[in-house]
Amino acid sequence: MNPVMEKNQSKKISPRIQWLRDYYFSGNKRKWNNEYTVWSTGTPWDLQYHEFTYYIVPEAYLMFDVMRGGYAQAARTIPVEKDFFNQSISQRRAAFVKEVMVNHLPQEILPGDLIAGGRFNVLTSMCLTQKEQADYNKRILGKSGVRAKVKWFHDHGYGNAGATSGHLLPGHGQVLKLGWKGIHQQITEQLVSLGNGSPAGPKAAQLRAMLTASTMARDLAEKYSRVCIRLMESETNGTREKELKQMAQNLTRVPWEPADDFWEAVQALWINHMLVMSDENYPGPGVSLGRMDQYLLPYWEKSKADGMDREFAKEILKCFWIHCNTAYDATIRCGNQGITAGYGQLITLSGMGADKKDLTNELTYMILEVIDELSPILEPKPNVRLHRGAPEKLYDLCIDMISTSQGAPFLLNFDERSMAGMLLQGQKGEIPGLINENNVHDYAPVGCLENTMVGNDRSGTVDNNLNILKAVERVLTRGKDLIPYTDPMTGKKEKITQEGPDTGDPASFTCFDQFMDAFKIQMAFIVQQCADLYELSESLRNDYFATPYLSCLVKGCMESGRDVTQGGAQISFTTLEAVTYATTVDSLLAVKHLVYDTKTCAIAQLTAALKNNWKGHEILQAQAKNRAPKYGRDDDAADSLARQVMEIFCNETWKHKTRSTNRQFRPGMLSWNYWAGDGHVMAASADGREQGQFLSNAICPSNGADINGPTANSNSVGKVLGGKLAQDTGDFKAFVNDLPNGASHTITFNPSLLKDPDHRNKFKAFLKGYNENGGTALQINMLDPDMLMDAQKNPGDHRHLLVRITGYNAYFTSIGKELQDEVIKRISHGQF
């Protein structure tokens, strides 16, 4: 058993859930799992692994050929009809995926489970003709193929871009209300509106594909209903027999019919959700669930009135929770339950409603209890939306959970700042009808924390990840790489070539403003490069990969007759995530400080130092690290340069649209794990960082730079997003936020801050202050002994760690080993 779990044994949990959870954590030893199965049309050219969805995962680049070949070998063939290949790709995929899910993948129900819907991780044929597949391969492979270009972009330190699955909020609330029957009806009407008989053309073909997909959930539910009946017949326990009977009955109605009660709604939601993952052949990252406590509430109220026990409702939810975690089974043979990274089937709780009304309800609390009692289950990830009007009880409960979370991530979203960003997207993207003051409160985050609207929005929230630090490097080098790329296998160095514009010899710049002018030009160019790279996989997906089932759940696709992969969503954006923001800002601050303000060195000397990874320039490096100002300290001068960088990045981002799918780029800041990995790829930077050291993460200050504590750190973040208007209107209109997507912000706290009710109140004051001054979302981590031990070894990365023990305060790294050990001991034992 997972050692973390043992600490949670005291939590309230029924034998049923205990068994399901233990079974889940037995991982590889499980008899049943949800490992990928692969399905082919049987053509010799068939391919199942569509690598473009993993172009944003540099670790996968070297595995692509293995995956393509390996999965193809493992594929089982399902023969297709003669005229199969005469249909549109979307129609083929709709039919093939449905065939796999309904007629080939086994349907099983685990003992005691209250929710049906087991296996869903599949890799299904791309369903292409020989000619199509050849064109696809031609565009992907070879020296000038997308794959090589993506790899080049990464290897040279720019980042990555690729058309990625998931990362959106299907219209779950709507489907529960209408049932698939209602969706089916709407598609039929759309099709009829195209003309009598059998209309031709791509729009009609797409609608037919969606029509096929819209009965997949119904047919699968019917299969599961039969499984329930079969199990019921051999069941000896009366209670379980009744449960199975009810499940069978539920499944004959939902998800086809509108859900009538809570059990039906959760059952329908699960099948609808899991089939998105099947349809996309993508086990979950960022396939988010949205404001679950809102759209499930009417069903809970109905069931409550009918006499459903509150604990039983939670039991249903807990089964749903366990199901979400089986997404990780896709690669279960890798060990650790297949968990390679958090998938982010994000749920959103509470938040502001229309007229600033708080929407916390009974279900909000029930779901929080479920999360708490099931801890340390990873999925679905909770995100609580806080705002000025959030109730004290909700704050208190969140803080209690943070204090007992044992380091489990707990994400908070801040409504006013987030909504200001979404409104900006409405204006900039010229869709005021779709995002405006009257509906912006309906937003919810997907994946990690990326804000989108619900049920009509695909904003490609992880698709473009650009290391904007590259723009500083290019000013120093006049548009080239600073260091040559070395092939790790052959050790051969590539020749450095002119990649971007020559912005002139920086030695000739007479002031820092000229440096910034050149930076702007280089930024414009790398943003353009990133958008161009994205276009290659975006157009590929547009041509060859449809997800008709998902398209049924995203408003706009039906109306436009375009798949969601073809830009069919009403709100169809793609997000450019700036990576290395603080490293970029700090590098610019260092250039300003060292070269122009204090004239410590000439720019050529700085460039030479960076080229040599600071070797032989240790004094200059120490000056860059320690004497140059840094972002994240609530230092107005430094933060104003940071704000300037934000504006330059955002302005350039808004200039782009995809050509094949007409999706507008929008700015965000999320760095997934790139800030660690790309630290090895990128050359040394002017902020004193050596090649190999981490870059900064999302909107966070550089590692260890926030020496003035969490409030100063948060104030800096709020300022660079745009701060607030001088006139506080009392609502989100007073807030400015240049990043509609939002920005990832993590702060580590000393656990002594949560040691008693008095201190928890102080922490609450911090969160309320963050709502006013901080960013869009906050990930709270607690200082733990491991981190302190790391700080002993790498003091430079942890200069900000403040140890506060009743009146005494000192930076952890400034005290001797003996005392550091003492502090670690205290934190390990909860003595502050």
Binding site: E618, I619, L620, A622, Q623, K625, N626, R627, D634, N708, G709, P710, T711, A712, N715, S752, L753, H759, N761, K762, K764, A765, F766, K768, G769, Y770, E772, N773, P795, G796, V803, R804, I805, T806, G807, Y808, N809, A810, T813, S814, I815, G816, E818, L819, E822, V823, R826, Q831, F832
Partner: protein
């Protein structure tokens, strides 16, 4: 007015002040989230002090090895030959060091720093107001601490005034060793007074802190009158130091004193357990610490001392102990 004369203070009254440190998101110096300003200079020199760098009113040079790259720039910079590089790091000859800070200005790694920065009251208020959003919902605000904030009373007054003008809650942390007129002046702009009582026995007080407790106790007796004139909440704080102030008789007699003179005035009495983590701060100042090997208080002992304090008849709700303790005697 007591016999303590402000002209003895090495600080000249001025609207500029010598600040040791600004501590944001402070949770231990009054209610709510606070920003605590540690001012430099203290009339007492308690031998257990865990912030020894706050005692001297003058800027003090310290070297800490963590980031030092051994470049020797500090040694070249010093005109007084006060610095030397040894195998153990940079050594400061405190007889020669004039505290000019030129070396600190040049140190690439900030390993040599001059503790103590001059602020104008106006700039400091602006800096302190940056966290008002975090103060608001928790009755938080700013605490002036030290050292001893009353030593720089003109500066402190300006800062407190400036903060109150912006609606920010103010707390003043004092050791009580000050002229009552100064205290009165500051109380006019203070929302919360944190008053330390360390030791009731005068001889011991003198030996622990270097000064008699007569003025402190006299000031305490005058507090009820002053607080009536300038309504201010009062918290008493007592450091519980093993082998020094942690005696039952000390706490008992302190309890009686508080019950007799401050019963209707005091809102909270904190017994603050000794903090063992000061050693490196002494080393950096070139000093040795009398309490280097002293162990933390036992939790049970702190509980007992609270009971002793309560023998005075004070309300149980107001007496608490704070700080790190050890569970059981090793």
């Amino acid at each position: 007015m007591g016999s303590f004369n402000m002209t003895d203070s090495p600080m000249k009254p001025s609207a500029r002040g010598m600040v040791l440190e600004i501590q944001r998101m402070s949770t231990e110096d009054g209610p709510g989230l606070r920003t605590t300003v540690f001012l430099k200079g203290c009339p007492l020199a308690c031998d257990w002090c865990h912030n020894p760098e706050s005692i001297s009113p003058k800027p003090q040079l310290v070297w800490q090895g963590t980031g030092c790259i051994g470049c020797g720039i500090c040694i070249e910079t010093c005109e007084n030959n006060a610095l030397s590089l040894t195998p153990g790091g940079v050594v400061i000859n405190r007889d020669l060091c004039q505290g000019c800070g030129h070396c600190a200005d040049q140190c690439p790694s900030l390993s040599i720093t001059l503790l103590g920065v001059t602020w104008t009251a106006q700039d400091l208020v602006k800096e302190l107001a940056k966290d008002r959003a975090y103060f608001q919902s928790s009755r938080g605000g700013v605490t002036l601490s030290g050292g001893e904030a009353t030593l720089q009373h003109e500066f402190s007054l300006e800062v407190l005034k400036g903060l109150q003008a912006q609606g920010i809650h103010t707390a003043l942390d004092t050791c009580g060793m000050t002229a009552i007129s100064i205290l009165e002046k500051l109380l006019g702009h203070t929302d919360l007074l944190l008053f330390d009582i360390k030791e009731m026995d005068e001889t011991r007080h003198k030996s622990f802190t270097g000064a008699s407790n007569a003025i402190i106790l006299e000031n305490l007796m005058q507090l009820p009158g002053l607080l009536k004139k300038h309504p201010t909440e009062l918290w008493i704080r007592t450091p519980i130091i093993p082998g020094a102030t942690d005696r039952d008789d000390n706490i008992r007699s302190m309890g009686s004193f508080i019950a007799l003179h401050l019963k209707d005035t005091v809102c909270r009495w904190e017994l603050c357990a000794f903090n063992t983590l000061g050693k490196d701060k002494y080393t950096r100042l070139g000093k040795t610490w009398a309490h280097e090997t002293t162990l933390p208080m036992e939790k049970r002992r702190m509980d007992n001392l609270v009971e002793t304090a309560l023998e005075s008849g004070l309300d149980r709700a107001i007496v608490v102990h704070t700080g790190a303790t050890r569970p059981i005697s090793p």
